[in-house]
Amino acid sequence: MRREFASRADLIAYVTQVFPGATGAVSETVGGRTVALEKLAALQPDRYGHSRNELEGAVTRLSPYIRHGVLTLAEVRDHLQAQGYAWAVVEPLLRQLAWRDYWQQLYEQWGDGIWDDREPYKTGFTAADYADELPQDIINGTTSLDCMDHFSRELQTTGYLHNHARLWLAAYIIHWRRVKWQAGARWFLSHLLDGDPASNQLSWQWVASTFSVKPYYFNQENLARFSRRKWCATCPHAAQTCPFRGSYEQLHKQLFPHAEASHSSRRLGTRR
């Protein structure tokens, strides 16, 4: 196949011609080691540690490069070490690198078993209670929930979602719409530039509670806080009809009426 292209547009035209089955937008994120090294050099582990859960936080955007081995986890760690950062500064970032290593090690053991529920749901429901297919309004971005519709479009046009947005969207799909995590995982894998079977499927299982002690869910306050009210400020549902309104305890009762009462909820920054 061709290796010489006059421009990115030229490459895109060629890919479109030779892979007619692959459709949709093209991301602004450019592949290759050159860009990966630029991003690595721009890393700010201290700012990352303080702001990574915020949508506008100083996230690294290294994940597509790490997923494809353009950069290795060890290289990122070695870079931090060479810069002489203290443990306290790099610990939050190293913990996220470790999550990837952890998923990869499980993949080594389980192989295609990462597609199977590793444990029963802890939601009071069984797998049979969840729908097999992703609802069309989620794919089309027409749920009328501004936040979720935005995440859907962002995923499909950029091939990227902030980690927190992934968790919110996954929780909405599994727990509010009661859809099997596998349907959501397939959708993400098709679009995410960093789509990796292990990290993707097992993170979905973490949200679903089929590989964790309880389901991950969130409320409006949490989403509003970490998105700086980006959608809630103008969303027509925000004041009354938002399905995410309420305390964690109230939402637990609504979402998981047959489950044991929740004693603590899972939020970013605590368990993950």
């Binding site: 089955g21 949709g24 937008a25 080691r33 913990r95 952890y102 499980l106 894998l189 679009h191 079977p197």
Partner: protein
């Protein structure tokens, strides 16, 4: 003396798209190949943006780019270069394992490990991340 008795070919796959991957580093100048796995692209419904991203990574690597079924494509590349040895890098993917098994029937296959984030541990409990992290945090950032 050349390293291998017969010329080696490097097979690059989607988990190690760096010009510094161990297989490329160990075999400078060796013919190298990438194969777009059309079955996998269809099975995972890989979108155009993912293909463009990977293609851009490939353009920075010294590889011939092919498409189709992985094993027959590699086989043909081996014949074109009269090669008997394939060098590649490790991956946890079961599909990778199956391809390696098929290739190892006809060729000498050398699978080089990727640099590890933490050194190999005698006992690493993977039941939950917290258990893994208890061990990993002590060795992940040598001070």
């Amino acid at each position: 003396m050349p390293k291998q008795a017969t010329p080696a070919v490097v097979w690059v796959h989607g988990d190690s798209l760096s010009p510094t991957n161990p297989a490329l580093l160990a075999n400078p100048g060796a013919p190298a190949v990438w194969v777009w796995d059309e079955e996998l692209l269809a099975q995972w419904q890989i979108s155009r943006k993912r293909i463009v991203f990977i293609y851009e990574c490939l353009l920075e690597l010294p590889v011939a780019i092919r498409r189709g079924k992985v094993v027959p494509e590699i086989r043909q590349f081996m014949q074109e270069h009269a090669a008997q040895t394939i060098v590649t890098t490790a991956s946890p993917s079961p599909r990778f394992r199956a391809i390696c098994q098929e290739l190892s029937g006809s060729f000498t296959l050398e699978i080089l490990p990727m640099p590890a984030l933490i050194p190999p541990q005698k006992h690493l409990d993977l039941r939950r991340f917290s258990r893994y992290w208890k061990v990993a945090e002590k060795v992940i950032y040598p001070r």
